[in-house]
Symmetry: C2
Subunit: 636 residues, 2 copies
């Protein structure tokens, strides 16, 4: 199997992007400090976290009881990982000092044999590894491995990496042979593959392979485990195997099933593993699962996991806009999964889904103040129903503050701060640019400065400074929606010679310092339709421009968004917003029709109509003004 | 308060109707015998009923344990009530003998003090009256009162009426004074009002009044009750007061809330009480609640209780077609409630809702074989989603057989067999005809033979034989959808003099034997639209003809009914069906458009279109052919 290349390190890139740099600043200035306060129980009125206290107690530094979710440790790990990236984006010696102290604490809480889980250490030491279905031990340790790799990568400090390696070695000593086990929530596989990528130690790859390949091999495992134990943390059904993707070995799975976050974490690890081991059939399995998502189970915003129950994938084409679960973390996981696929196979479909998620259903999870977050990212919200009636209780019309189960905020933080890693794949002779994000990148073949007007304009420049005189290829992902007729690629001002292959423009040449590749394309407004197989979206149109999906909000359009219709022939005008929360965005206005309100429930007279102007705003920014309805799919 | 009149007795009417007589025959020949076998545990493969065995055990005639739901007794009561009406519709001495035996058994199971409930008698005698929230004692006794009245009315046999009166007297001795109590499921109020109407005994009216008026007076009652007891039957939340309408006194309730069956049973009893006591403000409260249903909480099929959770009313205008609960029993209860309103106030809106429910969402609950039943009557079914995904698990694409909780089948049986009682209200000087059902009626003022082509044609004849020479008024309900321009009313062939008031045509004259009133109107196909306030039904049209709502089925239209569109200008043709399950019905065909299927989830190309013929069938008959999709609201 020929791989596209290898991922790059975070420190090879520095983001300088009009769209993303402010987001990174928000995370550094607001999200991370806020979460630090949460972990330290310093935010009055917020539910107690106790996460660091749990580590102090487990470390024997403090008396007390464990408090929080069984996976409370992962909050500390995710914060540490985000801090690591933050220290690269914006060095902060004071923050680094505090993070070092947290690491000291984590190291002290680790048991002599390498085990690290404060819940079981403090509360139920006799139950260690006895409830893999619900215990989240491997999940928490996996996150600590990711944090360790990130922290070591950025700071060069080895202490937390030692903790992670000791942990991984210990896990390897426990599982395998007679001791079959798989985690109820995948993540350790991701952590192990990250550890492998960083250290090059085959044993971590092997252990990740153990967990990936053994999943679904013994279908009665969780059931038998439950039979054997006399305790339960969540009283989960051990026979709902699809929930945690243990219903079949991954190579026999044809569709994305179960808890969406678990699923994409699992697939991501499998893709990393397939790439590392050049395992063609495992790669194929990953591609099958990704295709199933992209072709049958993904909202137009890139969101996944449409079922309001179990945070799970639903049936194919079942994508209700008003009952969506579409957890922020699931979309983040999908972004990472797509990047792992890209490292194997530079196929534009993967870069396109990253684009779709990054500019829509991931960042929609965060209020512009950095202090309020959605788990659930619906495509339609109707206050009075959303959050209130059966089937929609989970759909909130307003982002709440921090949660007890605080998975999404730190997950967003780490994604936003580590965007640079998503942008590139490099091989001996090719640099793949997946995302048009402005930055400086120090790659093996060349230094590249990317100046980007994306996503608001179709204009991006790559300034190349090759490391050596060598012919190599710059392969730039051209978003799938760009029509080739409008695409212009120049090198130093002259029309470039390039070939398009699976969504990438391949430009091969002897590069000289200062060579400039300029890519431009018109940013057209697109009407997007759903297949009629998706029952809920028939008769409707979604508007897109660049990677952005648009939506209607009450703030611009008044009440009863369901009464608005957009004639197919209406011209759609765009304007640059300069004021208020919309400043900097391009919004759309168009002539539309409104069906008039009527108090009569049923009538032989069709609703009267009036001409109105409809305004649409980028989906990601919804819910930042006065509360009201929101709607992506507009009646046509 | 001037009442319209009084209800009539079942034996004053004999149904001879092309539409309903076959239904009555089906109930007599199939439903009642089938249920009798169920009660006797004689249907192999069906879940054990044990209902009669419970009575034998309670009567001390047999050893054993109670088995079944806490309200299992009501199955026997409902069967007895249906048998009573059946003996009038189609006398059957053998059946009557067996019913008499059941009555003997019931009488034996009654405790010396009058209490009758086999669950508590056999299983938890110490808990009598200790769990009014969940215990269903008053509910079961209420049904036995209804059965008793029906059986006495038809057979003249007093034994079961004695049981009912003893029971009612006992209840009256328990409640009131220091012993506050209301039932968690209303029904005893209905039974008591029926007992009052039959016997004229004020004490029953007074006891009904106690239960009606005390509901909602002590909001902490169920909570305190639960605090006091150390057992629970269903572990119901005692603080979800809306569920059983105890959140406020009825006169302070402005909207229909909670469990829809409980609600309409309660409102019906309140309406009967308001009529009996000529209580204007109570009548007003009932009208407010009915108006709230009719104007804000009713499906176009007449179905109510749209929430998939708690079988309950949802928010105003929240009428999702594919997630409807719309329990058959709720619609039956609404019919009875409407009739009770009509006895007070001959307002066509009440007769219209009876019409709407009778010809649509009540009988849709029963397969044409009389052996399969829906609880849930959706307006849209999509196999693969319906019954399978979150929020739609309760929506079945096919009628299953008998249920463990068998409320709907016998409820349908009694409604269908006692239709005659719904047709008339009579006062000293007016006969009100509410429904255009063919029959012979022996009323106080006249005998009337009704020959009806309704509901398929707008043609009904009333042949009047007055009992005495007296001027009186025949007030005939003209369905609300009939345009006055098309309405023809003749008396003995001559254009009649009449006045229209609130949907009734009042014809006052000195009637002579043989006088014939003929009413005709064109049966037009109507396009019906929902207010845009009802988010789920915007952009769609429902087709109606006469009282019938129409629907599309896969059997006629293939897959993907959501892809079908009906242009507003399409002519709709009707045809009389002569073959198969549709024989006798009028179906509709029209030129429509189908959006073509596409495997591509999202596309910039709008779905291609093709011209197709769309066929619609009456809603009530859906699901009687090969399983597939069904859809009432058609995209326009």
């Amino acid at each position: 199997m020929k791989k596209a290349g290898h991922p790059i390190g975070l420190k090879q890139t520095q983001c300088e992007d009009k769209f993303w740099s402010p987001y990174q600043k928000l995370v550094v200035d607001t999200v991370i400090p806020y979460q630090e306060k949460i972990l330290n129980d310093e935010i009055p009125g917020q539910e107690k976290s106790h996460a660091l206290a749990n580590f102090r107690i487990a470390a024997g530094m403090e008396e007390g009881e464990f408090y929080g979710m069984v996976f409370q440790d992962s909050d500390v790990a995710k914060w540490l990982e985000a801090v690591a990236y933050s220290l690269w984006v914006s060095p902060d010696p004071e923050l680094e000092k505090r993070a070092d102290e947290v690491i000291d604490l984590v190291a002290k809480a680790q048991q002599p044999d390498g085990y690290l889980d404060t819940y079981f250490t403090i509360k139920e030491p006799e139950h260690r590894w006895k409830d893999l279905l619900e215990g989240h031990e491997l999940y928490c340790m996996g996150h600590m491995m990711e944090a360790a790799c990130g922290y070591y990568e950025v700071t060069g400090k080895k202490k937390i990496l030692d903790v992670a390696e000791k942990m991984a070695d210990y896990i390897a000593s426990v599982f395998g042979g007679d001791h079959y086990g798989i985690p109820g929530h995948e993540e350790v596989e991701v952590g192990l593959m990250r550890l492998y990528q960083l250290t090059g130690e085959e044993k971590y790859c092997k252990l990740a392979s153990y967990f990936v390949e053994n999943r679904g091999q013994r279908k009665d495992f969780f059931h038998e485990e439950k039979e054997k134990r006399d305790f339960s943390i969540f009283n989960m059904d051990p026979d709902y195997l699809e929930y945690n993707q243990s219903h079949a070995p991954i190579r026999e799975q044809n569709s994305a099933e179960g808890h969406a976050v678990r699923a994409v974490y699992f697939y991501r690890a499998a893709a990393d593993l397939a790439g590392a081991t050049e395992d063609e059939s495992l790669k194929k399995a990953c591609e099958t699962l990704m295709d199933n998502i992209l072709q049958k189970k993904m909202y137009v915003t890139g969101a996944i996991g449409s079922s309001g129950e179990w945070e799970a994938f639903s049936k194919e084409y079942d994508l209700p806009p008003d009952r969506a679960y579409a957890e922020t973390c699931a979309q983040i996981g999908l972004v990472f999964f797509a990047k792992s696929m890209l490292d194997m196979d530079a196929d534009g479909k993967y870069a396109d889904v990253m684009d779709r998620c990054l500019y829509n259903s991931t960042i929609s999870g965060m209020q512009l103040d950095g202090k309020h977050f959605f788990y659930v990212n619906p495509l339609e919200v109707n206050p009075g129903l959303s959050g209130e009636v059966f089937g929609m209780r989970h759909v909130l019309p307003k982002r709440p503050g921090w949660y007890a189960c605080a998975c999404c905020p730190p997950n967003l933080a780490r994604m936003i701060l580590s965007l640079g890693r998503l942008c590139w794949t490099e091989s001996e002779d090719t640099i793949y640019s997946h995302l048009m994000i402005g930055q400086k990148a120090q790659l093996d073949l060349a230094d590249i400065k990317v100046a980007s007007e994306y996503p608001w304009k179709g204009s991006v420049k790559y300034q190349i400074t090759p490391k050596a005189e060598k012919k190599f290829t710059l392969a730039v992902h051209i978003p799938g929606y760009v029509k080739e007729s409008g695409l212009s690629i120049t090198v130093n001002g002259d029309k470039a010679e390039y070939r398009m292959e699976k969504g990438y423009a391949y430009i091969e040449r002897e590069w000289s310092a200062g060579d400039q590749v300029e890519i431009t394309f018109p940013m057209e407004i697109r009407r997007v339709y759903s297949t009629v197989r998706s029952v809920d979206n028939v008769g409707c149109v979604a508007l897109m421009r660049g990677p952005f999906v648009y939506c209607l909000e009450t703030a611009d359009n008044g009440e009863q968004l369901q009464a608005l219709m957009l004639p197919r022939t209406s011209e759609i005008r765009e304007q640059q917003e300069t004021e208020g929360v919309l400043a900097g965005t391009v919004t759309l206005t168009m002539d539309g029709i409104r069906e008039k309100d009527s108090a009569q429930l049923y009538s032989e007279a069709a609703p009267e109509r009036e001409n109105v102007t409809i305004k649409a705003v980028p989906y990601y920014i919804w819910g930042n003004r006065e509360p009201g309805q929101m709607r992506v799919w507009i009646r046509e």
